[in-house]
């Protein structure tokens, strides 16, 4: 049943293309209905499989001579991320309600992207996962290149090439692993159990991990992210920063770390102070956290602040993955959900509520517009979103970051200090952005009167409320997700990881 999230999205995309030209309203409604249907299915599956154990959805042979199966399965981690995708899909469409140009193509590409993302989260065969992972690239490119804003063609191409480069690295690792294991099967569980030689794993792990981590915005391969997100239209930014970057992190966890757990082990000798790939990636993640936050602090463009903040928050996720203890890993998955929602909310405010109306994103221009009076709903939403992004308790980010920090303290106590610094800088840049954009000091000389900005429409309000509720619900009762995530981490799939350096 859960597979229908994928099929409905693709069918919706096809249906949209068949609509007659100029049917903007029908396109929006069809897209929204498709997204809601997908989310409903996801939610139903979530409620039904609350134990978090793995369950198979579909399993049919695909290319039998190569051992490739069309195999879909889900565990707690997949369910969490599928829920996230559903929420972002619905709210993204709500925030794109005002698109007038080539509307049905926009939503067609959007639904295609959503369907492929569902596919990645539900795939249990490596070939299938890779197919869906690659399909994501093309609609992404068009969404940005056609409907984007600043330097959209450059941003779109950079994003596409970086993503493709990442997946190329994964492909090489994938084929190597497939052949090394006898070219009999591409099933995730079978390959996870195959005893690859430690030497092989030491080489394959960084290749595949970095390949996925590029999409997750790991420093120093993150440069596509701010450019791409700023160039993208709002719904695409929400989806890209909210969900697609999580595909990379998901791949790191689901593929790299389960297939090649020995790759995380110690090298035996120390080079440059690092003793294993785990050390290297943990440090890179922390650099990403601090660097992303610091650069966000000095931006003059509102959207760039959010773009760099995404890099910083993704650093938390990658760091949580490298802690290799249960609390750190659960925190990382929870942060995938939390940041997905919050990034969506932040981009929605900056892109749709502010930029669409003011046509500028520079703080110097936004300040005099007195936005807290002109669009109070946007101001309140950004305050709430900013607080949540800072990690204020009561929102999902706090619990996730708390768990990650505890996990980091257990594995890399020294790095925890830098994480703390990153959190503090995080508070500062959000505060700065909020002040400069919405609550800037009024000059003593009267500013020229602006035309009143259009009020916040109903779809925008609905979208904002949905996202806030999604964050608050998990912030207040994180068990709702932890109940499915933790059993998933204890499943046989991660057995190799647990035997390695689990604490």
């Amino acid at each position: 049943m859960l597979a229908w999230t994928i099929y409905i999205s693709f069918l919706g995309a096809a249906g949209l293309l068949l609509l007659p030209k100029g049917s903007t309203i029908a396109a929006r409604i069809l897209a929204l209905l498709t997204a809601v249907a997908g989310f409903a299915i996801a939610l139903a599956a979530f409620i039904q499989h609350r134990s978090g154990e793995l369950f198979t959805i579909t399993r049919i042979p695909w290319v039998a001579s190569l051992g490739i199966e069309y195999r879909l399965a889900a565990d707690g981690i997949s369910l969490t991320l599928v829920l996230l995708t559903g929420i972002i899909a619905i709210t993204g469409i709500l925030f794109s309600w005002n698109i007038q140009e080539r509307t049905k193509e926009f939503f067609a590409f959007y639904l295609l992207l959503i369907g492929a993302v569902y596919g990645v989260f539900l795939s249990y065969d490596l070939f299938l996962l890779f197919v869906f992972y690659e399909i994501v690239i093309i609609p992404k490119y068009f969404l940005i290149a056609i409907w984007g804003s600043t330097r959209r063609e450059y941003g779109a191409m950079k994003l596409a090439i970086y993503s493709f480069a990442g997946s190329a690295m994964v492909l090489v690792g994938l084929i190597a692993a497939y052949v090394e294991a006898g070219a009999r099967t591409t099933s995730l569980s079978d390959l996870a159990q195959y005893p690859f030689s430690p030497h092989f794993q030491m080489a394959a792990f960084p290749l595949v991990f970095v390949g996925f981590a590029i999409l997750a915005g790991m420093w120093p391969f993150h440069t596509w992210a701010p450019t791409g997100h700023v160039a993208a239209p709002t719904a695409a930014s929400m989806l890209l920063a909210g969900v697609v970057m999580k595909l990379g992190a998901y791949g790191c966890l689901r593929v790299a770390m389960t297939l090649f757990p020995l790759g995380l082990g110690p090298w035996g000798a120390h080079h440059l102070g690092f003793g294993s790939w785990r050390d290297v990636f943990a440090v890179l993640a922390v650099i990403g956290i601090v660097y992303g936050a610091s650069v966000a602090l000095v931006q003059k463009d509102f959207k760039f602040v959010i773009g760099y903040s995404s890099v910083s928050h993704m650093g938390f996720i990658l760091l949580g993955l490298m802690t290799l203890n249960q609390i750190g890993l659960s925190g990382a998955v929870l942060q995938m959900y939390s940041h997905g929602i919050l990034a969506g909310l932040l981009f929605a405010v900056v892109g749709r509520m502010v930029y669409n109306r003011t046509h500028t994103r520079e703080f110097a221009a936004l300040g005099p517009m007195n936005l807290s009076k002109a669009v109070p709903f946007a101001a309140v939403t950004f305050v709430i979103a900013g607080m949540a992004a800072m990690g204020l308790p009561g929102f999902s980010g706090f619990v996730a970051e708390l768990m990650i920090v505890i996990g980091v303290w257990r594995s890399y106590p020294l790095l925890a200090i830098f994480v703390g610094i990153g959190i503090v800088v995080g508070v500062v840049y959000v505060w700065r952005a909020m002040q400069k954009a919405f609550f800037a000091e009024r000059r003593t000389e009267s500013a020229p009167p602006h035309e009143p900005l259009p009020p916040i429409s109903f779809p925008e309000r609905l979208g904002a409320i949905i996202l806030i509720a999604a964050s608050v619900m998990v912030g207040i009762y994180p068990q709702v997700l932890l109940n499915v995530i933790v059993p998933a981490l204890n499943s046989p799939l991660f057995a190799g990881l647990r035997q390695g350096s689990w604490q």
């Binding site: 695909w62 290319v63 001579s65 190569l66 070939f127 290149a145 493709f164 492909l171 052949v179």
Partner: protein
Amino acid sequence: MIPIDYAQLFQLASPEVIVVAAALIAMAIDLIVLRKRPTCIRFAVAATIAAIGCAAAILRILLVPDVANILDGTLIANPLVHLVQIALLSLTIFTLVLSVNSTFTQHVGEFVLLILVATAGTMFLVASQDLLVIFISLELLSLSLYTLAAFNKRSLQSWEAAIKYYLFGGMSAAFLLFGFSLLYGLSNSTSLTHIAGAIHGPSLNPLLVIAIVTTTIGLGFKVAAAPFHFWAPDVYQEAPAPSAAFIASASKVASFFIFFQIMALGFAGSEGSAALPHLVRGWVPVIALAATLSMLLGNLVAIRQTSLRRLLAYSAIAHAGYMLLGIVAHTQQSLAALLYYVITYALATLGAFAVIAVVEDQRGSDQLAHFDGLSRQAPVLSVCLAIFILSLAGIPPLAGFFGKFYLFATVLASTPRPVELLWLVALAVAMSIVSLYYYLRVLKRVYVAAPSTDVEPIQSPALSQFLVILLAAAVLLFGCAPQLLLHWIQAAVQSSGL
């Protein structure tokens, strides 16, 4: 003297005979009956007759699948050969459909005849394991192609391209013949299997080295591999659309197949190895070198192109590089992968040329600027073009992706330790990243750029739409359900015992 059973020979060659007969009938009807009619009618009739002939040949192959080997490989019939011949005939049919709306020539009958003769050449080419028959078929194919390339008498560039093609082709044919004669001298036989047995030895004979190099030159020219590729950009750009399409599709399929046969069968035993860092002398490192050069040059130069046809030419060079990897691996599995790849590649390229033909016809040239905003004017054509281009780029779920995956997997599996040829696969994958850049640029023109306001909107003729949709559906189908084609290819390869 070995007695030749002409009846058996005729029976084995009957598909080719049907094709040639259809060619002659088409030309006859065109010259005798249809002289005064408009070109489109003449083309339609001739193409129909030719297509019927090809279809009849396909049916003949399917319905009466002989298995035979005449005169030590002079003429062969087995499931693998049949498979390739069916593929070639199908591609010819598609080319004929493409040619129906052409306006570049009045010599319709001759054109169709030449296409079919070229087809016959390819069919003989793949059905033989004898050096002489191979060379004759290759020349039959090449001479037809030179003429086909020059068919647009009104275009000076078309002539120039054809002259280049002819001169290059002639020279490489000379190289090939020289190599073949050396092989004959070394082994006293023109049958590939006998040659392999004779030249196998502990160390490489210097004459054998020369034979390897010259054979590679000759065949490398045919498949447009670097550094023997110089004819390709001009020919792809200037030849009439159906000719270019045929060169890019059917000729490629046949050439790669025979390339594999000659190297793997004829030079069996002197492969050597391209595994870093233990390179062993043999023909494999030579092919690997050619593959590397093709991948690098094809992809890097394609970035600068402003003409879609030239871009496709350089991409053809790049794809030739990938396909040569299948020859480097020289196993049964890699042959299957190579065939899958080249057939789906041919379908995609043919489709791309079909779209180019429509745009060229109405806009005058194939410059990328003429494709701006195509998606809003000709949505069906654009979607199909997108499918073809993305398949060439290797994006799932299209056939090009599965082809690459399977090919790379077989390359890695061909050596005892997968890591030996990893450098080649890594290079191929890295170059694919480069290729995505220029392919996306084409799609950017089609989908993102605004249509230029001072030209007429594109009208898509129904037949072109039909062809393009059919080809796109095939590419999509073979990508989503590769087993359909793969099952057939793998069975054929296994039963042929290569």
